[in-house]
Structure formats: structure tokens, C-alpha cells
Amino acid sequence: MSNRSLLTFDGLHVPEEFHREFFQLVDASSDSEKVYLKVYQLLNQLRITPIHILCYGENFEKLKTYKDLYSMRVKAAELNLRILFSYKSDGSILLHAFHEISGKKETGYEKHAAIAQKRLKVIKNE
């Protein structure tokens, strides 16, 4: 049966590139359902809680050396993903998803932050 979400998540933007990348990463796992649940939890929190308060918790962080970039920690079963996101005038925008394999240090984000920043720049120029 077709299931339409109870929520519309107004203000959430999901570019095609991110959409494709996310499902490629997650659907290859046997734990995709757990990841979906975790992402749904986090997006719900992002929807109703100011980002500076979320960053006081353990699942969200502001990337200090990368302007306008935030990270969302998606840990579910054996998968440990990060979603980099940002904001534009009308809401949040998911930019890049990747497996966290280089530790929690922000220096491990260099390659991925660059991808996110490049996508953000393109989107802001559209």
C-alpha cells in the first residue's frame, strides 16, 4: 500500500545528488530500515529544534572550519554515516552523505566537506 508521510517536512531540501547518494549508501546495507528510522528521528528533531540547541547534544555539530556546514551523526547497527547539511533562506538542505571511517576528528571531514561546500555553492547560485 502506498504510504504518504504524516509529515511534510516543510523547509527540508533534498537535492537529486544527495538523494541518489544516500540511497546508494544505505540500500546496500542489510540494516537500511534501521538507518531510515535514525534519519527520520534526526530530521524530526531538526524540524522542531533550533540548530544551536541541537549542537549542544551529541548527534549534531557545527563544523568549525567550514562555513555554514553542519554534520548529522547517523549511527544505526553497523552503519555509521554522516550527513553534511546547511541552511538556505527557507530551510535546511541536505548536501552529502558518507561513511564515517576516519574517526570523529573534523580533519577527517576535509574531502567530504569540500564536496558539500561545492554542492552548496551550486545550489545557492541557482
Partner: protein, 132 residues
């Protein structure tokens, strides 16, 4: 290259997997998690200090704030009492207006048979029930 916004497709795919029951659970848990984290932020406490204050483990605070705990109503009441907050539960009919295009509204819920129905905004619940 102009990028299409896939937010509807993204949420729909996740929603299809989870189902409305889980969605409702998660919506409630997110509200509780948000309230607890906001309170800890206002109190300027670390998770460890907050855990001591609430007389629970730090791991439990982590679960609360991550929206991973299945709270009983009694536990929510205890938390609210300790943090000088109140909670309320709202239950209503399951009509959800998920999109609004040219005065047509997607309606699902009690009349959901898997198809999408178009109704005018002024359509009454009685008419919706008859249509189903």
C-alpha cells in the same frame, strides 16, 4: 546544473518503510527529546551533570535526547515534574493534508485505500466518509 528538489520522494521512501505507526511514535519521541535537550541547554549542564540531576545514568540521558527511548507516560510525567514542565497529549482524526495544489488537497487517513483522492478544501468530513 539545476538540481531538482527530491524532498517529497526522500521522505516518502523512508515513510513507506517505516509506516504511519512508527512515524507517530517518532514524532512524539522527537518532541520529548527536543524538550529535554532544550532544558539541558538552558540549564547549561553537561549530559553527566544532567544525569546526576535527574538521578539516571548518562547513557539514559543520551537515549532520551536521541529520541531512542520508549517513554512510559509515567516517566514523561516524572521528567516534566523534575524539570518544571508540563506535557499534553493530542489525539485527533487521521486526516493529513500533505499537499495543496490548485485548491485540491491530498487527503489520507481514515479514507486511505492506497489511492490518492482529490477533494476541495471545503469538503466536510461527512462527505469524505461517504466518498470512502
Amino acid at each position: 546544473m539545476l538540481q531538482r528538489d527530491m524532498s517529497q520522494e526522500f521522505i516518502s521512501k523512508i515513510s513507506e518503510t517505516l509506516g504511519n505507526k512508527v512515524e507517530m511514535e517518532e514524532m512524539a519521541k522527537a518532541k520529548i527529546a527536543s524538550a529535554i535537550l532544550t532544558k539541558r541547554y538552558e540549564l547549561k549542564m553537561s549530559q553527566t551533570d544532567f544525569a546526576d540531576y535527574m538521578n539516571v545514568s548518562q547513557a539514559m540521558v543520551s537515549k532520551w535526547e536521541s529520541g531512542e527511548n520508549n517513554f512510559s507516560i509515567s516517566t514523561i510525567a516524572e521528567i516534566c515534574e523534575k524539570l518544571s514542565m508540563v506535557f499534553d497529549i493530542s489525539i485527533s482524526k487521521t486526516a493529513v493534508f500533505a499537499a495543496n495544489n490548485d485548491n485540491d488537497i491530498w487527503v489520507k487517513g481514515m479514507i486511505d485505500d492506497g489511492a490518492h483522492h482529490h477533494y476541495r478544501p471545503e469538503t466536510t468530513w461527512e462527505q469524505l466518509m461517504l466518498a470512502s
